[in-house]
């Protein structure tokens, strides 16, 4: 009996503690963010949170997840009905979440006309699915080629290559004159990163993976095969290397062990951090147009940005809700004057882009000029984007590692993509 009483007391105390924990005040807004989990960006996110809390007296609970884990965690939270108030997404993920219950149409919160008045059209378009505005942009830019001035100089290259042939010649020079370097840190390891490199080269050679109607085109014509053969050739001649993902590329470029890689403008911030030189490394970071097959052609680049989505119990929210106020703050002039620049990216509002700090940033100006007309990610707009990415990544990787010919890989890619696209809907 004595034991029973002791146990009962323990249960009561534990229950009491549990209840008191539940009764503790929760934050007004929860914010899932991958920038918050990145060493280079965390201080900037923390500054935003402090600014919001000081202005509104509302509290924010930041939930940091690595970029690669973000989709999975939002998805799991959706299934367990524990979605945050606001979440940060990569622009290419939005179609995957279009059917998640609780996603708020922000046109209904802020008004379509008002949003069009505030935001730059290209940035606003990244958050649209059909007539719905399921996300608002946080930062924007494109994925394009970056050169490393220090490495190029060491290789005796004084002019940035503009054609594919010149690009190859420059890579050979780097390989021969800069020991232990990877001339072009092409993505060869992670399917998500491989997709972007392949997509850009495929566009460069005049190809298309999937058209607007959902018809798979990569195996029709020679462009896909030419693009992949070009990539395979770089591997064979040791101008690119296996086991490279975007983070590896950033580190190698920051260590002056690579001359070229594809990335978003945010790369400048990563390179500052990884080089250990801070802003002094900026002189080596050269945004450049993707080389073309013949002079006069349009350089290829991909639209890129970070988005903000809002979740509410029934998918409805008003502008006075704490989560809505938080999104308003993140896209306000005050936030847009600092955060995008700290991330080496373009602001998303018209007033933000007109800010003298932005127009006077030579890196961003050079980036915008080099990007030309960025095209929408032609894979990310489909609801089965994850499967398409895996198929393309596997086939490209198979050819790069010599497991199959470029022709076989493209034909296999065509077949597998057709199977995947058989019953799929376009999301925007």
């Amino acid at each position: 009996m004595k034991n029973f009483k002791s146990m009962a007391s323990a249960v009561v105390i534990a229950a009491g503690l549990g209840l008191s924990g539940q009764a503790a005040q929760a934050a007004d807004v929860s914010f899932m963010s991958f920038s918050y989990a990145e060493e280079a960006a965390k201080p900037s996110v923390e500054a935003l949170l402090k600014g919001f809390e000081a202005q509104t007296k509302l509290s924010v609970e930041p939930l940091g997840y690595a970029w690669g884990d973000m989709q999975k965690n939002i998805f799991l939270r959706a299934r367990s009905k524990t979605l945050p108030g606001v979440a940060q997404l990569s622009e290419r993920w939005l179609p995957s979440f279009a059917n998640v219950a609780g996603l708020v149409d922000l046109n209904e919160v802020y008004g379509k006309d008002k949003l069009a008045e505030i935001f730059a059209p290209d940035a606003l378009a990244m958050g649209q699915i059909g007539s719905k505005q399921y996300a608002l942009p946080l930062i924007s830019g494109s994925i394009g080629l970056i050169g490393n001035k220090a490495v190029l100089e060491k290789a005796g290259i004084t002019k940035l290559p503009t054609t594919v042939d010149e690009f190859r010649t420059a890579l050979v020079a780097v390989r021969d004159k800069v020991p232990n370097s990877v001339p072009y840190t092409m993505a060869t390891k992670n399917n998500g990163s491989i997709l972007l490199d392949f997509m850009i080269w495929n566009w460069t050679f005049g190809g298309e993976i999937i058209d607007e109607q959902g018809k798979v085109k990569v195996g029709n014509g020679d462009a896909g095969k030419q693009a992949l053969s070009f990539m395979v050739g770089l591997m064979k001649d040791r101008l690119a290397a296996p086991e490279i993902d975007r983070p590896d590329a950033r580190r190698l470029v920051a260590q002056n062990a690579s001359a070229f890689f594809f990335d978003a403008p945010q790369a400048r911030t990563h390179l500052r951090s990884f080089s250990g030189q801070g802003a002094a490394f900026d002189a080596n970071v050269l945004p450049m147009p993707t080389p073309v097959t013949a002079n006069g052609k349009e350089p290829a680049s991909i639209q890129w940005g970070h988005l903000l989505v809002q979740f509410a119990a029934d998918g409805k929210a008003n502008a006075d809700a704490p989560a809505s106020k938080f999104i308003s703050y993140l896209t306000s002039d005050a936030a847009q004057a600092t955060f995008p620049l700290e991330q080496s990216a373009l602001p998303v509002t018209k007033s933000g882009r007109a800010n003298p700090k932005v127009t006077g940033d030579s890196f961003l100006a050079a980036w915008a000029k080099a990007a030309g007309k960025p095209k929408r990610n032609e894979v990310g707009i489909w609801s089965n984007a994850a499967e398409l990415t895996q198929v393309i990544g596997e086939e490209v990787q198979g050819a790069l590692l010599g497991q199959k010919s470029a022709d076989d890989a493209i034909q296999a890619m065509q077949k597998r993509l057709e199977t995947s696209m058989a019953n799929v809907n376009k999301q925007n």
Binding site: F75, L76, S96, K189, P242, S383
Partner: protein, 313 residues
Amino acid sequence: MSLAADITTAPSSARVSPHAVRGGLKAGQRRIGVLLLLPAAIAFGLVILYPFLQALALSLFEYTLETPAPRFTGLANFAKIAATPDVWQAFATTAIYVFFTTTGTLILGLAWALILNQPFRGRGLLRSMSLLPWVLPSTVSAFIWGWIFNSRYGVLNALLLELGFIDMPQAWLSTSTGAMIAVIITKIWLSIPLFMAFFLAGLQNMDREQVDAARVDGANNWAILRDHVLPHLRPVLIVVVVLGVIGNLQQFDTIYALTGGGPVRATAVLSVEVYRRAFEQWDIGFASAIGVLWVATLLPPAFLYLRMLVKGA
């Protein structure tokens, strides 16, 4: 009338004690047993049984990002598996992985146990240090091995270059065979301490006089191992093989951390395949169906193990 005549063996109709209850002491013990078992049973039900039954049910549903609520499709997911070569390839990859990891660990674990069973100075320290791979979190071990095999900074390449076996650094994790060997070596390294501990316990129970007698009769080391040690270790060997097969069939973390299932699909075992389908492609129903088949592959060794436990008991 003798005293003995008063003693009767017939059962008395009177109760021994007014507090005695039907079933007596045994029933009371049984109730306490059930009560003590209850927390573990509840935990098992919540953490293992319920999710398992849910996964079993989900394998009969279509449940993707485009279907906010699961839609019953019967055996469609299993039909899809039959028509998906990637899944069958995952079964074959799993079989290769399980065979080599279990065999490798068995041989090296036994060899290490035989060494550590010999008397020598520092044996206690070496035994303790041998447990280190087992103590380390498996993902940490995977990253350590990832760096060892790294093509640019790896110790393995540095060593082979220094010894003149290779002319330039090799990308071990970028070939199908290299990646498979890497994940197998990593798992063997992780599992050796556990296997070694089992074998060492078995060896310490062995009658040394039997070995000494065999030596007097002229038996060499190999003969002693074959004719005396291995027969003595037979029960341990069976348990270790069964546990090893079960553990290796379930392996996920080291493979995912080291290769992510690649290059291409070279190390995509069933656990990685289920993870990719569920958390990269969001096809929960299909992933559950693969998971059900995966559990089916686990059942024979699990059954064997349980049978041995029951028999042993």
